[in-house]
Assembly symmetry: C2
Homo-oligomer: 693 residues x 2
């Protein structure tokens, strides 16, 4: 519960000073400038007064209760102050001071020490090396932060790992006259965590949208849990930076944190419905739309314009962002044709032409809002000097206020029509400078709409022989090892994952019986830890069609490899299907990541693979399989037959079940799997599985 | 020569009126508001005075010379006015009036008529359906345009097919206080063309950057020619809209133009060094950088910041945009370590930390500007309240003014530090709101730098038997036909493009001799127009290793296809190489487009192909081949051997030479080509070639 942090009844400032360049001074000034609704207690052992306030030499001297303390004194002094705070019964300490974990081992020790002191007294630490918090709620109005962007009330809450990024986000909202709800840049996250803050924002009725900037996830499992709950109620927009390996290195040198796996963040966002952005501007522009507009019910957008060119840009951008151009209903077409000028184009985009007045432009939007074939509207509006632009804006504003569909707008105008922008915004319609921006914001809203409208996922559990699989793993005690292929195959079979018929043989006289069991054609493979690249070494012979061929191949191989004392594997030679690969990878504290892709060059050269976090619903898996670029190949591109995609989906769910059931599986690759033609299934041809215990 | 258009000594306005909502009034007001430096003559047969000007009933009544006339009367009256203008000796007529080509056949006739009238008198038409022109040169200051964005002098010139897009571009520059040089939105392009305008901007000394918005290229060859000349002197930034098929359709319904091939625009941009953008904002942001900054000599960027997070965003974005993080020279590292605070990070990004003052931040930039390992600088600067921010800005401004390397900057600040932005901009350093924007602008400059620094392309001409090829084509008179494969192969061989040994046979008794000539192993194929899908029909047999196999295969095939009276083809069965494909396609009025890609799924499913416009230099071709996503496969990914890329490059140049030599080749596909291992060449296995005459 972070109430005493974000809604403190009183604030003390350790390090408050009359030096206007000090953090303590700036925080105090920010609290005063924004009319903090509770008492402020400056702490300074040297000055009797700070500004016009009586200063205290220590927190313990304050005669009243203190919820929150801001600390900006030298790092080595922080523990002493915290002892005082603890004794005083302070609930939260925002430590602005740097010089902790981010500077190395010594700092890390100091950081651990201050958390220990705090917890001893039931106090919480926010930071250290943190910027602070803000809450614009007029009943509180707390700006316990040393930055400079003025605060005004709004419904977007921000949590930012980087203060600089947080500041940029606030700044842009401020520039267009939009307020924020709450703000937090939490620094080293020694105690109060990003996840707690997001959870808190999620519970805050007045927060309609959350923007998060993330460099490293300290507790990915916690994030998944919190985000999954919050996104059902309100959108979380995330910017995860350090995407490139160069960026990741820069993060490491900046925060001292471990290098984060980009993939983990991505699968967590996908799983929890967090909307990921790759630029600050895109995220802010989407947040602005979310903060005012209803979420679209579907992906069918209509574009209305009074100038042609920008509408084409809007079309390009909507299509690229995955939206569809709505087809106007016949009724709408009839209505519009009566309404607009003859030169107008009644299609999508609807071009009402520059001479359209309030009746034409407004009437068009009104008709489109009623069209059941339309989910969202993107308006392009240039203030043509020869029409009643304010009249149009007034009408749009009116329509916006009651609209059940999202409406976004590009307006091209200058100061003298400032009223136009004001009137449109008054109707809750976000106004952007560029059609591209409006289109991208709409697409983010559509994506979120799809997420919240999807059915609650059902995680199918196949009936499997978990106990038998556990026994198989049990026999492989030891640590960090790859299991023998026959064991892996048996595990897979226990989980209902088909494997190619395989028999292990040691000697020539076992061949015939084994061959009979499997049936021709066969593949013969040498099996020895000493022979790594089997194919290159001549340790694989394919297409053995009868006994004599098999014996000849065996003899040749035996001569070649005898000195290694190898085993041999006899496998059914499969009518070759389409090669796909699947995999699983354990994530400490989290469910495993499941991988799917087309085999061969697709995975190795084109990196055409998809990752998702277990557990996987059937819907998840279908979406995952369809997301690979090579998907048309599975559907039967180039005149080939379609493969059994349903079976692949089933195997992925079973694989996910297996990986989830046994956290000791650190990695698993089914590679290749031959996907046979539709109705004929798929079969694992080779597999590796490593366990750690 | 467009001087009388962009630098008119006098302007007449046909349709000038006292109705403030009329185009004529608005244009006149714009001319007056911006202090046009010549006489203005309103033409209106009904009003004696327009504003305080004496109105004329006709252009012919004007007692002085008239360079430019703006026309905004009813479309059907335009021809009559133009006759008057012609008689008067007017040089340019800007026709704002709509209702021409864009409304259909009748309008098109009217459009042709007005051009004819104009040309009869040696007059030029600008438009119709056009917005107008602007020139901010203080000696002229002409705003012969009915839009509303105020004009001020600058060095960016804009040409926009869509007036709405043009307006958006002007607007954004205006908002950040940047002027423009010239502006043109040319409407239907019935006479004065986009290409002429770009050419004119290219010759204008004061224009440093050109921004172009294009929906359809009326004259692609002309564009290529003009753009290629202009880009050697100054950058052309282009936004080609209608990128998606939906967007293209919207263009068609908006302009009435034919659907443009997206690929053509793209290859022309590549060939001529035009920088292509996909959003208005990105283009404007790059233009701002180009307008002030030198072009970088290379791609090594250094990032300097006083706040960590945004620098990481800058790193991500620079890397994604293809830049490299510079490695600071040891000397610079030594200098910086002495200069900056202990907490600072001397690496790349250089984090001088928030407490850095003018000495630390400014000194760091100064040192980096001198480092020979660095080509460009991206600065991130938050106005920390506790340092002398104006001092830093002043220092950066000073360094910017003399810098030989481009410097771009993200500044995070509010009004109270407005002076900071002013001081930095005074040093010609562009200031952006987001690190992403700064990074993308820098990347565009780097791309242009690479273009202007590249060697003048050498178009190698191989010695080929052009005459023999011409004779072969000559024998194939008729129109629009695919040539027989043996003819195509011979043409290829005449151009030094290796083809797989192939002999045509008719009867069984020719087989043996043919086989001897080629040598085993062989492929036998049926050859008949009636059998389209040879493989499926059983008309292809591979891997024939000796005479008996060949005869048996022939007999079987003959039995099957006898009724079609087919021919047969005997080919060398190639040791299978990596399949690649090449192609050429004629472009009326332009050199052909050359295509390269990996065969099979790569072309058909992944569309992993590259297009370039002939002629091709060796450098072009190498870049083209390396641009396919599957390129690592040619280099020998996955433990395979590298293929003979040099030979592929040679074949592409020869193919380009062949396609250029014979414009009657409407299309040509070499598919597949087997690329053999390094040093062993490549060979065309099948080819199609269509000629039109």
């Amino acid at each position: 519960m972070l109430d005493a942090l974000f809604k403190p009844r009183s604030v003390a400032i350790v390090g408050a000073s009359n030096n206007p360049l000090s953090i303590g001074h700036i925080v105090m000034q920010n609290l005063l400038d924004h009319g903090f609704q509770g008492p402020i207690y400056p702490i300074n052992p040297k000055s009797k007064f700070i500004k016009s306030f009586r200063a205290y030499t220590s927190v313990t001297e304050i005669p009243d209760e203190v919820d929150l303390v801001n600390i900006s004194i030298k790092n080595t002094l922080v523990p002493y102050v915290l002892e005082d705070c603890g004794k005083k019964g302070v609930k939260f300490a925002i430590v602005h001071t740097a010089g902790f974990k981010e500077v190395g081992e010594e700092g890390l020790q100091l950081e651990r020490q201050i958390v220990e002191i705090a917890h001893k007294y039931g106090m919480r630490i926010y930071g250290p090396n943190s910027q602070g918090i803000q809450n614009s709620d007029p009943a509180i109005s707390v700006y316990a932060n040393f930055t400079f962007v003025p605060m005004s009330p709004g419904n977007i809450s921000i949590v930012a790992q980087s203060g600089g990024v947080g500041e940029t986000l606030k700044l842009h909202l401020y520039r267009i006259g939009k307020g924020i709800r709450m703000y937090a840049s939490f620094g080293n996250e020694a105690d109060v965590s990003m996840n707690e803050i997001i959870d808190y924002y999620g519970q805050d009725e007045e927060t309609k949208v959350i923007m998060a900037h993330i460099e490293t996830m300290k507790d990915p499992a916690g994030f998944l849990d919190v985000a999954s709950r919050v996104t059902r109620k309100k959108p979380i927009l995330a910017l995860k930076t350090g995407r490139t390996s160069e960026g990741t290195k820069a993060v490491a040198s900046h925060t001292g944190s471990l290098i984060e796996q980009e993939t983990i963040a991505d699968v967590i966002f996908k799983k929890s419905g967090v909307l990921r952005f790759h630029s600050q501007e895109d995220m802010i522009d989407a947040a602005i739309a979310f903060s005012n507009q209803p979420v679209p019910k579907g992906d069918r957008v209509v574009i209305v314009t009074n100038t042609g060119g920008p509408a084409i840009i809007a079309v390009d951008e909507c299509i690229n962002a995955g939206l569809k151009l709505a087809k106007l209903s016949p009724k709408t077409v009839t209505t519009l044709k009566k309404l607009v000028f003859q030169e107008a184009i009644v299609s999508n985009p609807v071009d009402v032409v520059a001479t359209a007045g309030p009746e034409q432009y407004g009437g068009t939007v009104e008709a489109l809002l009623k069209d059941p074939n339309i989910d969202s509207l993107l308006l392009v509006f240039v203030t043509a000097p020869f029409v009643d632009c304010e009249g149009i804006a007034r009408k749009l504003g009116e329509l916006g206020r009651t609209s059940q569909k999202p409406v976004v707008c590009q307006v091209m105008t200058i100061e003298k029509w400032a009223e136009v922008i004001r009137l449109i915004r008054k109707g809750n319609i976000p106004v952007y400078d560029f059609a591209e921006t409006a289109a991208r914001a709409l697409s983010a809203m559509t994506e979120y709409g799809k997420f919240i409208q999807r059915k609650e996922p059902v995680y199918k559990k196949y009936k499997v022989e978990k106990k038998k699989a556990a026994e198989l793993f049990g026999k492989q005690r030891g640590k960090d090892k790859f299991l023998p292929q026959d064991v892996v195959f048996e595990v897979l079979r226990r989980y209902g994952i088909p494997t190619v018929p395989t028999v292990k043989v040691k000697k020539e006289d076992q061949l015939e019986k084994a061959a009979e069991k499997i049936g021709y054609p066969l593949v013969l493979k040498v099996d020895s830890e000493k022979i790594i690249h089997k194919t290159e070494a001549g340790g694989v012979v394919l297409g053995l069609n009868e006994k004599n061929e098999l014996l000849a191949a065996f003899k040749k191989m035996a001569r070649k490899f005898d000195r290694y004392k190898p085993g041999y594997i006899l496998q059914k030679h499969m009518a070759e299907g389409k090669e796909v690969i699947m995999g699983a990878k354990a994530n400490p504290g989290l469910q495993p990541t499941i991988m799917f892709g087309l085999g061969g060059v697709f995975v190795e050269v084109l990196k055409d693979v998809q990752f998702r976090l277990a557990p996987l619903s059937e819907e998840d898996v279908v979406e995952m399989v369809q997301s690979i670029k090579g998907y048309p190949l599975l559907q039967g591109a180039r005149g080939e037959k379609a493969v059994d995609v349903d079976k692949l989906v089933e195997i992925l769910i079973r694989l996910s079940q297996l990986a989830s059931d046994f956290p000791e599986i650190s990695e698993m690759d089914l590679n290749p799997i031959f996907a046979l033609e539709k109705g004929k299934g798929a079969v694992v041809v080779d597999a590796r599985l490593r366990i750690i215990r």
